[in-house]
Amino acid sequence: MPSPTRERPAPAPRPRGGERHPVVICGAGPVGLTLAIDLERRGVPTVVLEKDTAYSTGSRAICWAEASLDIWSRLGCAEPILERGVTWEVGRVYYGDQEVYHFDLKPEHDHKHPPFRNLQQYHVEAILAAHLGGLGHRQLRWGHCVTGVARRADGLRLEVTTPDGAYDLEADWLVAADGGNSTVRRVLGLDTEGTVFRQPFLVVDVKVKADFPFERLFWFDPTFHPGRSALLHRQADDVCRVDLQLEDGEDLELERHPERMTERLAAMLGDHPFSVEWTSVYTFKCRRLDRFRHGRVLFVGDAAHQISPFGARGGNCGIQDAANLGWKLAHVVQGRAPEALLDSFCAERTAAADVDLRTAMRSNHFITPQNAVSQTLRDAVLSLSRSRKFARRMVNSGRMSRPMPLLGSPLTTPDSDCFAGPLMPGSPCPNLSLAANGAPAKGLLDVLGPDLSGLYFAPSEDAVAAEDRRALAELARRPWPLSTWIVAAPGTAAEPPVVGDVRGAIWETFDAAPGTFYLLRSDAYVAARWRRFDAALVARAMARATGWPEGEPCRQRGGDGQAP
């Protein structure tokens, strides 16, 4: 079977030039492709430029979190990723050869997706690119690299270099999704700020037929790699991911020498025959751009932030950037929202990246102590963890990415009514399964539309007051419409526009009572919620959730929209 890493999409021929496009995306990694799919589905055509002529070399991002799976599910492309990927729930941490800590990420009972699915980045890219093509998108240009960005009064002029020569391209908006070594960032003279750790890691994809459990295994100071850290994690196709900590100052070329590496891997993998598919060396980086929006250029994924691994926070943060930007950019391009909506992308995603960066920094300080006292503290925790329960919870081999609320978002309307439960405004709406046990899974998010959604909790459709129906019908006719679903009483099945809460999990998770109303954003975050539906309050929260100034009534399409 040919290795998917060798799949080579044909380089795109050089166009004649003189084109103008509303959105150009630089980078066809998982983040750029996810954004292109989202925009394509919203009717915004994009040109995707990818400087390479192949999918990702090596596995790179492998752990896809529930948040990413939910996003791909809404975009209709989660199935092949779930089918191809391998699942895992348990992580074990060893000190020497003794297990000192384990965690179990059991699927949440009523959620459609598991906390994680592992799949090599190149498989994800191939699946997303095929899905984008299936939507009729024909502008994924392999071998095309942006080498110049000139700001003009009415947009951007891009210089694109291809193997056949350069050409110019005009764009209203440019999204840089071109990775940690972003060309766009460099061309614009921007740099990320933060910390780079010294200790290098050797990362290896190993093909090995072995009965390793489908678990995440992490060692501090193992016999096969004394004094250092090591990780073993499963991927699809019998490929294992191995990360081995090296010492600062070690000869990295020597470490990557096949004989040296085979020796190390043999010590780790024992008698199982293996073959090395890919190797690389990296150091922990925790850095981000000060702002993710620079006028008409927007930064997503690793181009915006570099988050060190061991928590699956890099790739998943990037997919959430794409989902946050997709609907906002579509609104602005289509003249349905002011440009200021894009500033909320910057505010929300820099805050989210900061949480991921801080969590990653904490793990880095534990995995690779930076000075003698940090080393002593780390050894103290590990030593105590052998006998003391409390210390096990301080052992930090990476804290896995979890769904996370957008804190202090300008688009969120704070609660004025009393609610319990986890879904405060700004929280991601969980993709609760709508199916009874055993039935084919469909999630709550999969039935919601691409625009603002309302959830009206009522015992039955008839229980919604006639006055509320009229108001909802009016809100549904807005230029940026509200689509409302009635969530019927727990235990009842229903047909659209009524959502049946067969398992009773929706009412419980939303802390709903008859009359409760939730307003959800286009990316399925909770924008506002009330104990009773009030059309005026909902309209105001809708305006706020789509970036219109506070108190401003929703304006007609083409009114004062400042979009180009």
Binding site: R362, H365, N371, S383, L384, R386, K389, F390, R393, R399
Partner: protein, 75 residues
Amino acid sequence: MGKLRDRLALADPDGFYESLIHLHEGLTDEQSRLVMAKLVLLLANHIGDAEVLDEALRIAREDLLPRRQAGAEAA
């Protein structure tokens, strides 16, 4: 089982660990040892209970030989 609490009592263990790391920023190794010792004394005085402290003193002396050092000696 003694009186010393074994279950996790810190609400945010990773946050506390981060504070401990930051505590030593810019200090020499000698200053760091001094800070650690002061921290032990502050917390011991706060706990006060001799039975708890004796148990903590005993446990702290256990398991002092990480295998890494054992390996280094063998080599």
